[in-house]
């Protein structure tokens, strides 16, 4: 189970997502889905390419920021929008490692209308919490 909900209760200038999932991996995927919903709304278009991403961070919050920032980078440079995700998080002993395979489609600037340009993912009150096997987090995007 995973879901995201768009929110602006934390700041009136920007937009965030409230994430709920029953695993960390699903929480990160919910974050990605929320991010692309904020950028270009919902779409049923299938992926046409596959991306492989590997990231390392010291804590889960930083890893989430790194993950979403990586997706912003691919959108900004190649117009890639994630459509399907396979994601693993492991503790290497030194770092937390995220390995992801992402199906992406190319955003078509001529035919599609994007809603928001996300400048960056913020640390604003960012905290991943676990309660009774459910993970929650809110993430605020700077627009």
């Amino acid at each position: 189970m995973r879901k995201y909900e768009i929110t602006d209760k934390h700041t009136c200038s920007d937009i965030g997502v409230e994430l709920v999932a029953d695993s960390l991996e699903e929480l990160y995927i919910a974050g990605a889905e929320g991010l692309f919903f904020v950028i270009c709304g919902s779409s049923t278009n299938a992926g046409t390419k596959r991306l492989k991403i590997t990231l390392e961070s010291d804590d889960h919050e930083q890893l989430l920021i790194d993950w979403l920032s990586e997706l912003i980078y691919y959108f900004d440079t190649n117009g890639y929008v994630g459509t399907d995700y396979s994601l693993r998080i492991t503790n290497t002993g030194r770092h937390l490692q995220l390995e992801a395979d992402i199906d992406v489609r190319e955003f078509n600037v001529e035919n599609e209308t994007a809603a928001h340009e996300i400048k960056a993912v913020t640390y604003y009150k960012l905290a991943i919490e676990e309660l009774n096997g459910q993970f929650t987090c809110h993430v605020v995007f700077d627009l």
Partner: protein
Amino acid sequence: MKQMIKISDNIWEIPTSVKSGMRVPARILSSEKLIGGIDNGVIDQITNVACLPGIQKYALCMPDAHLGYGFPIGGVAAFDAQEGIISPGGIGFDINCGMRLISTNMTVEEVKPKLAEVIEELFNSVPSGVGTKGKIKLKTPDFNKLIAEGSKWCLDNGMATDDDVEHTETKGYIEGADIRAISGKAFNRGLNQIGTLGSGNHYLEIEYVRKGDIYNESVARTFGITSPQQIVIAIHCGSRGFGHQVATDYLRIFNQNSSKYGLNLKDRELAAAPITSADGEAYYAAMACAANVAFVNRQVITHFVKKSFEKVFNKTSEALGLKTIYDVAHNIARFEDYIIDGVPKRLLVHRKGATRSFGPNNADIPEVFRTVGQPVIVGGSMESGSALFVGTAYAESEYFGSTLHGSGRVMSRTKAKKLIRGDELQNNLKKQGILIRTGHIRGLAEEAGFAYKSIDDVSQAVDAIGISHLVARFVPLGNIKG
């Protein structure tokens, strides 16, 4: 807030006793009308800023202050260049977001018959919105040169005049830019975005001076504003993905290394490093690169604005009087010299959603403005237009030569969209004589005028405090919205 002490009609102070670790008091520059609207989060953020090492005199909130990340937007703090810190959170993700104002010798009467045509031409020649790419194609060596040189690159490539460069804050260039401090990601994000507006609250607007809206004729004339009905053009944008990535990269590095510097940070967005540390120097060099990119971005947009006007009005931009009045940064850190308690000091002044406000005789402003002070350009909403102020010696002596940058948002995007549809807003504005062109009509509602503080309320507060003085107000005729 109970602990806030009223110092004078427009100045409130939060003493160091309010929060453990505050090194200096925080000062809120505001008005009776605006002070009640200050979010508690802003107070929390500015008192956190007051705890940072090397901070001088006060942590400051300008009258347009609102909640930001780390620093509030509308926040100013100056740090000792040797003992202080540098913080990406004190500059913002959009490094050198700023305003440019261009004067013309045209009147409303002359422009109105061709307004729709010129707006369409501008919309096509200045890409706006999400995912758009700039009209100029750059190869790696060109982009490296542009990053290092700022506006001079535009001059060398036929996209600026000497006058444009002279009328840009520090001539469109910040010393210390070093491309070795830039990540490949920042480079790649910026490469295709030169000459683009972006989205959100960024815009390109045709405005005019209403009768009665010139408040200081002599200063206005010095700035190039000569009569009511005169057309001006305002540009609001920054360093695009390049700057956003620089901020993301260095926030990560600073957070990772914060324990190394013994900084007990109250907020990860306040991540900082000593100015003289390797990380601090690298971020300054990268920030300077992003600032240069933003100056170039606004200059390239100016180039295409000139071309658009030339095409529609079939005259040269010189004949149409298109001339950069000034270009100011409002998300930046700069080394400046001030007297603190009688001692001259070199400081790194962070202005996040705040504009430099230098008064008369300051050697760092163009010679033509030295008798009056620098132009300060302030953006409002697409319904309210912009305002032109003049910098003051008082701002320099008391508040690190700083003033406001805009009107400040007061309503969430979701709420604004619940109150009005984008097409409805576009039609309402059309009835008021304001033509809006956007690629994203639904999103237009998010930028409705009622979502922002009144620019007039903020202007009055600033004028009363004396950190800059109102010279002229401009109202919109047409707007390109990202």
